[in-house]
């Protein structure tokens, strides 16, 4: 109605300009890595790359894909993420479902038991000693087990279960089904949306995490991609990471190419999944922060 007919004011123009600048600030640092990673090494070294790639070469990607530590770290991250998410979904739903049932005697007490852990952190050192005591150091379990349940996500799932119609449970119980059967046959098939959300949430956090690997893993064969990324991109450990790389160093590929190429392959899955991530995360962050 009237809204659409109102003239664009000077403010609208300035506002739109601010937004365009914002878009540039958000995207340029990421775009810059992409164009440097595929530009010719000597141009990169001379600082000639600004807005578009110069003399495009995929050499940096050839180098990192033939580099054993990087490939193995990438594979490790894929394994940690898929196994981790499986454990997350299993444990989170086992926790959320009973807490969503009104007849679950003691659920307030159990809820308190769980929520308290959000407020009081046991601390880095004691948790390290527990993981150590369980013999999990330098195993995949140290990465996927200590973070099995995220309390925020568990609350989201519980809220979802609570919103399912009570009649579902009653009729199933009437037919003689027990809680396990109801959960498995009735609740889970209806929970695809929340499970999809949880999968994305947990997958992103596994994919991006580096701190557990930093403190629990010493064996470099177990390193996830984020640790390799840290070694190469932040500590500048390019040559020792990849013997292959030092051979072709020089004119065609420089450290910068390698660094940004590794970053790019590490964020590629995030970029590919971004449309889904955005949709589910926005919805999820509303549930988590406002209602809960």
């Amino acid at each position: 109605m009237k809204l659409g007919k109102r003239k664009y004011s000077a403010f609208d123009l300035v506002n739109a300009l601010i937004m365009l600048v914002l878009i540039f600030i958000m995207l340029y640092p990421i775009y810059y890595m992409a164009i440097v990673s595929i530009s010719n090494g000597s141009s990169v070294a001379r600082g000639e790359i600004h807005f578009y790639p110069v003399r495009i070469t995929w050499k940096a990607y050839e180098v990192i894909f033939s580099d054993a530590p990087i490939v193995s770290a990438y594979r490790n991250t894929l394994i940690y993420t898929s196994l981790g998410v499986a454990i997350n979904l299993f444990m989170t739903s086992l926790c959320a479902y009973p807490l969503s049932r009104r007849e679950f005697y003691g659920r307030n007490l159990f809820s308190l038991f769980i929520v308290f852990t959000m407020f009081f952190d046991g601390g880095i050192i004691p948790r390290y000693l527990v993981v150590n005591g369980l013999g999990m150091l330098d195993t995949i379990w140290a990465i996927v087990v200590p973070t099995a349940i995220n309390v925020f996500y568990m609350v989201m799932m519980r809220t979802f279960f609570q919103a399912l119609p009570e009649a579902l449970h009653e009729s199933a119980h009437m037919d003689g089904a027990n809680d396990l059967t109801v959960f498995w046959r009735v609740v889970l098939p209806l929970s695809a949306p929340v499970m999809a959300t949880m999968t994305l949430f947990y997958a992103v956090s596994h994919w991006n995490s580096y701190f557990p690997a930093l403190i629990y893993l010493n064996d470099s064969h177990l390193y996830p991609i984020q640790i390799i990324l840290r070694n190469i991109v932040i500590q500048g450990d390019v040559a020792s990471q990849s013997t292959e790389a030092s051979g072709v160093m020089g004119t065609l590929v420089v450290d910068q190419n390698i660094k940004y190429a590794v970053v790019l392959i590490a964020i590629l899955p995030i970029l590919l999944l971004y449309p889904f991530l955005q949709k589910y995360f926005v919805k999820g962050s509303m549930v988590g922060s406002l209602k809960g």
Partner: protein, 298 residues
């Protein structure tokens, strides 16, 4: 009576057993494991036989000026965060809300949310490379005729770098909650204000901001509740010996002293101090939020 209830829901208890064990082992055992903060814990003889020293470690760090530097750094990063990073998404949300084209608004949102999904390592990697002495920013400064700046090894730059990169990563994501609050504003209010001749700025000041003020207050309280915690995972990647002066915080110190320096008891004591203060702050903030009528997590 209770037994009958328990028996009828035995499958629920069976399901809950594993999660219960998980929280007990990975959250409660570490909490009680903080006993080593009162010992001279020795890994070889175990914590049953390690000698108790009472509050020895606590006394040691409370009298240590370096510990207060850690507290100061933790608090300063939070103060900077409240002053600069906290209002940023509010301003952006208000500007987004004023955009006339819904499609353009969605585009800006999509772009601005993206950095939120990048890992700490990637963000820190970009910072370290772009701010290096031969990095993007210094080249730009030089091309404008300026002098190179030692961003990464100059302690006076650390807080700025930490906060600016935080804003870059979270400004878009932070708008979500405010945008949701803004869509809840009754359009009739705007209509009435326009009738009264209020211009856009006045509409923002007198309608939009007052309407989202409760949300702002809650977010501010939650923020203050987290005053003892900072993004130590990022700091760990960004700091170095020459920036400890401003960058070293309690948790990075605990990591260095405990896991790299193997001084487990002392580090646990510092960590426990942090946990207790953080707990008091968070619970206090939650109480206040609840009193203000805001929904908290449980």
């Amino acid at each position: 009576m209770i037994l009958r209830k328990l028996a009828r829901n035995k499958y629920l208890y069976m399901m809950f057993a594993l999660p219960f064990l998980y929280f007990a082992i990975f959250h409660y055992v570490p909490m009680f494991g903080n006993i080593i903060a009162f010992q001279n814990y020795n890994v070889v003889i175990g914590f049953v036989h390690s000698p108790f020293v009472g509050f020895e470690h606590f006394k040691e760090f409370l009298y240590d000026p370096y510990f207060w530097k850690l507290v100061r750094n933790t608090l300063m990063l939070n103060v900077y965060g409240i002053v600069f990073a906290f209002p940023a998404p509010i301003v952006l949300a208000l500007l987004l809300n004023e955009l006339r084209s819904k499609r353009f608004k969605r585009l800006v949102q999509s772009v601005a949310y993206l950095p939120h999904f990048l890992s700490t390592v990637v963000i820190s990697g970009m910072i370290v490379n772009y701010l290096a002495y031969d990095g993007m920013l210094n080249r730009f400064i030089e091309s404008m005729g300026g002098e190179q700046v030692q961003f990464l090894s100059d302690a006076s730059w650390f807080r700025t770098i930490y906060i600016v990169s935080d804003i870059w990563q979270q400004i878009g994501w932070g708008t979500i909650i405010y945008l949701a609050a803004l869509t809840g504003v009754d359009p009739q209010l705007y209509e009435a204000a326009r009738m009264d001749g209020a211009n856009r700025l006045k509409q923002v000041l007198h309608i939009a901001i007052p309407c989202i003020l409760p949300v702002i207050t809650i977010m501010l309280l939650l923020n203050i509740g987290n005053f003892m915690t900072v993004g130590y995972e990022k700091i760990l990647l960004l700091y170095n010996g020459s920036t400890y002066e401003t960058a070293d915080v309690i948790q990075t110190f605990v990591y260095r002293r405990g896991l790299l320096g193997s001084d487990l008891s002392f580090a646990s004591a510092v960590g426990l101090f942090q946990s207790v203060v953080a707990f008091v702050l968070v619970v206090g903030a939650n109480r206040l939020t609840k009193r203000l009528g805001g929904a908290t997590l449980w």
